[in-house]
Symmetry: C2
Subunit: 318 residues, 2 copies
């Protein structure tokens, strides 16, 4: 009997050590506010991210904001109201490109919002300034342009530069992407306490885009994968494999994702890819595409990547 | 016993006659796809409307499209798939003004959509053309501008003119509104088989807008109320009464709605207002505003209007 109690206690202690270790390993808390591409108005690309144990988030893209926060609050991801999350916890938006499905939530929520930063490449900020915050499409909540209300301060990004994300414990390095050449997108490498997470906005494969932009990203991040400090990659899978290359419109399929991951594996070492979390974003929910895309990714995962399908309002750690 | 059976049968017959009569009285079927103002991305202004027993609808504004149709299908409002409703049943969009919360669903759903018409005032079409369908904010699915894909054909409207709504059994007369002077909005009078429904986009009260645009609408529709052919008015209540007049931004409160309804009653006759259905749209869901606005409308309804609060995906007849 004494032996059984002893075993139980030692097992419990080992379990607690294991759990503590796992928790300590996590660097980021992610709250998906919207996870789909296409016409799912209430569930479009937007991911809150902060260091674990911090409430100072940035939002990666801003397709759906309010509805995602409401679902997250209902799920217990936050212990405060949706208004407080939106107004106090989000310190800035990082916008990968200015297509409507990546900014509409940020724009429509601006009237009720507090002062924040918008980080984006200069061309993207120009579109936001000229075509959204212009008093015709929407009041000008930006910091520039016609009669600006100066709620959102534009922070133009330069490729490769490391900059602090204001009012957070994170820094940012940005990569240029090709989203239907010559349309420019962006990938964001978020860094905190020696760990990183990499978020891709919409992008096509290098071969289709006639580009080397993804290859350049792989070259930069391969050392981080080898060093086991890159916690996860958010990458888009808009269409199933059946979508013809000449109708990709600057997007990826499961096949193209895995081809690009193979290129990364050449640089980072196949043996290091098995620990990598691949968070699949931007699935266009037409017909049965969600099921088809998930099946194709699963069937084509020779590298043994840890594939994650984020859900609106369900927080996870990286 | 025989007497009770006789009573039961005659009561049933009377009930059936009553029901048939009521059904025969309805002119329109309405399926709200989105009912709120502000940042509720998945529930923004959009109302499908068709003559009863017709499947040829137009959509009044296009804030939320896909998510609303999905809820409607789940509620049994349609016996076909969401894709079929969107692609086959909606013949055109009537856009009251180009603010993002009235068009974002139409825009983001365009890639999966079929050819349709967009009816709007020329200034509104210019904003859609210059700032949305321009390959920077979104691919150009319009019929004009840079490299148009020509999926949506623009139909510029003239105030007061009666025009057919293509591929439907309805006609349209449009009124100009003031939505934060000098920003122009529109109201749509939809007509079928001698009956009408009147939909207002966003508008401020004449007194605050320094305008007579609402008064002009009341003068035109008063005879229709007297003739009992106007089945309902969709009107916005964005803010509660506590919102100061200098912060209305071209919107209405319960107090201002009822002041405008009093002006209409002067022209149409108070005794005719009790049959009028007032469908309240565009409540901004900040804090407790929904409850407050409903309470204020109810407390201030001396005219005895039939106030209806539409719900996303729940069809009703007018």
């Amino acid at each position: 009997m004494r032996q059984r109690i002893y075993n139980l206690i030692s097992t419990s202690i080992l379990y607690l050590i294991f759990v503590s270790f796992s928790v300590a390993q996590s660097a980021f808390n992610v709250v998906p506010l919207g996870v789909k591409g296409g016409g799912a108005e209430g569930n479009l690309s937007a991911y809150m991210i902060a260091p674990v144990n911090s409430q100072a988030y940035v939002c990666l893209d801003g397709g759906t904001v309010r509805q995602g926060i409401e679902v997250a609050v209902a799920n217990g991801a936050f212990a405060v109201t949706a208004d407080q999350v939106s107004r106090s916890f989000i310190k800035g938006f990082l916008i990968s490109h200015a297509h409507l499905d990546h900014v509409s939530g940020m724009l429509t929520n601006a009237p009720e919002d507090t002062a924040k930063f918008i980080y984006a490449f200069p061309k993207c900020l120009e579109i936001i300034k000229n075509h959204y915050f212009n008093w015709e499409s929407w009041p000008n909540f930006g910091s520039e342009g016609v009669n600006p209300l100066k709620k959102y301060t534009y922070k133009p990004l330069s490729e490769g530069q490391d900059i602090p994300l204001e009012n957070t414990e994170m820094t940012l390095k940005t990569f240029s992407l090709s989203h239907g050449n010559p349309y420019e997108g962006a990938a964001f490498l978020i860094q905190t306490h020696g760990k990183q997470a990499l978020y891709f906005g919409d992008t096509g494969p290098d071969e289709v885009e006639k580009s080397d932009k993804l290859q350049k990203v792989w070259e930069t991040i391969a050392p981080l994968i080898k060093a086991k400090t890159l916690t996860g990659i958010f990458l888009e899978a808009s269409y199933p494999n059946e979508q013809p290359d000449n109708k990709l419109f600057g997007h990826l399929t499961p096949n193209w994702i895995m081809k690009e991951m193979e290129k990364l594996a050449v640089l980072a070492g196949k043996e290091n890819m098995r620990d990598l979390k691949l968070i699949i974003t931007h699935i266009k929910p037409t017909g049965q595409n969600e099921v088809i895309i998930k099946g194709q990714l699963s069937a084509n995962n020779a590298l043994g990547l840890q594939i994650i399908y984020p859900e609106q309002g369900t927080a996870f750690e990286l």
